[in-house]
Symmetry: C2
Subunit: 336 residues, 2 copies
Amino acid sequence: MSLPAVAVVGATGAVGSRVVRILEERAFPLRELRLLATERSAGARVPFRGETLVVEPTAPEGFRGVDLCFLAVPGSATSRTLAPQARAAGAVVIDKGSAFRMEPEVPLVVPEVNPASVRGHQGLLATPNCSTIQLVVALQPILRAGGGLRRVLVATYQAASGAGQGGADELAAGSRDAAHPPRVFPRPLAFNVIPHIDAFDLAGGFTQEELKLRRESRKILGLPDLRLSATAVRVPVFVGHCEAVYVETERHLTHAEARAALAAAPGVKLVDEPAAAAYPTALDAAGRDDVLVGRLRPDPDEENGLHFWVAADNLRKGAATNGVQIAELLVGEGLL
Amino acid sequence: MSLPAVAVVGATGAVGSRVVRILEERAFPLRELRLLATERSAGARVPFRGETLVVEPTAPEGFRGVDLCFLAVPGSATSRTLAPQARAAGAVVIDKGSAFRMEPEVPLVVPEVNPASVRGHQGLLATPNCSTIQLVVALQPILRAGGGLRRVLVATYQAASGAGQGGADELAAGSRDAAHPPRVFPRPLAFNVIPHIDAFDLAGGFTQEELKLRRESRKILGLPDLRLSATAVRVPVFVGHCEAVYVETERHLTHAEARAALAAAPGVKLVDEPAAAAYPTALDAAGRDDVLVGRLRPDPDEENGLHFWVAADNLRKGAATNGVQIAELLVGEGLL
């Protein structure tokens, strides 16, 4: 086919605006870019490849002639409304939200990890939760080198922008004024740490964010019984999710073997020189597309246990970049 | 004996100033309070029980007649100089630093956990690292109810004031001005997360802060072989350390049994009602003496696995309050 017409829905949001920027950065092949957003944001002007695009209000007619649609809207309900409209217009939809991720016929794709999952797609693909993406990019090489994963435990340190631009704005306001009332987060986030992201599952006591890490990792890695538990925590950072990961492999991996596996893994940048105090922080990850991994060390007690630390830009690799990479994969495989 | 004469060394620092405040709050029985600090802070005036005390420069003569000395000074070298001076003057020393904690003849005391350790003290007792104290207060009831601990994994979220007042000041400055150069922390802490506290042990890849959690917990709990690993992380919070804890007990504990054990434990305040979104945050812990525990939930895969979340004021229960509680224990046992 000729170059695709592309739409970005939610183009003025934290993720959508980065999709536009990344399409430009990566010179994604397209013949037309259409930017859609809410009525409130319509009329906004966005630079793209030396031109200025005007944001239009999202409406079913807006999808006419679109071949590829990035959905970067908050809330599953909006995705459930818009995805069928875009598909009805003939577009392939890449949704950054959680509405469709666990549906069996929807590929849940991290291009470095499960690229083959895009084959046979039915017009709708999903990009995983931000905290899941960086985890599986780092787990996959350990899984392969270690002949399997016996279990994974994760504690996250998640940035405010994981809750969208409104989350980042609330952190900024709260940092200036301690009395700023929280609306996006369940408690004031400035100079605080909140062990609560998304709704609680009252039966088990885990939050949906923690359960997403489990479910989505299982689907992406193709390990439906993977033993993985998480504690998901919001921290007062604007951009950049971090994770403290503990993993037990089936086969013993030496430190050197684990290091080599990570160093060679696609999408991973190893930043791990304790002697030089080199390890990734949230700020190091912000603005980059790599998943940064450091603090790799064997557990002192469990022969097959390894600890490491992962940092990534939750808006880029955790959302927008991953979505654009899925689109590149579709183009490369002739699946668009 | 008559009421003791008490000295606080480092009385103007983050921990020392809280020792003074807590001695007043808890109406600690004393006949005289002497405040010592560096030359730079000498002359400062500190209110205490309706009077105004003047801070004196620390000097060997300052310990004359002192029965009980709280050492709240930064750096092991200073403790190693001052502790013998205070002991030579006849004072019992309670050191908040790490210089003496692992010496076999020095009791490492968390009064709720190992009060009997103060018996037979030789004039020098140590209060553990802040991150250790809140961990063992929460672990002890699980250990008892569960018939032992198979293993413990901890990821910490530690406040800037864990590095003293200078750490808190640097976070404040960095939060106002992103270009503020870090001196106390290895990287800018404002709106960042840094997986590096204290020096690296290059052999194993853990930091000293992480190794302290292991060594000190083993000593306090009387479990020299306890399998415990940690990832210690600095977060942009002024006061209040949090910890995501995973533990496996020897005997299976139901959720209700674990909850009951924590609810009944001295020093623990259970804040754990997912249906009401009740769980502890760092800000909730700041200014309090309890160790707050929440997010208790069984691991979905490991029958004897439990997850929980701990928050405490690192300057109070994590240092000053614990030190004053040790002094109260000494008084109560007639060991001063």
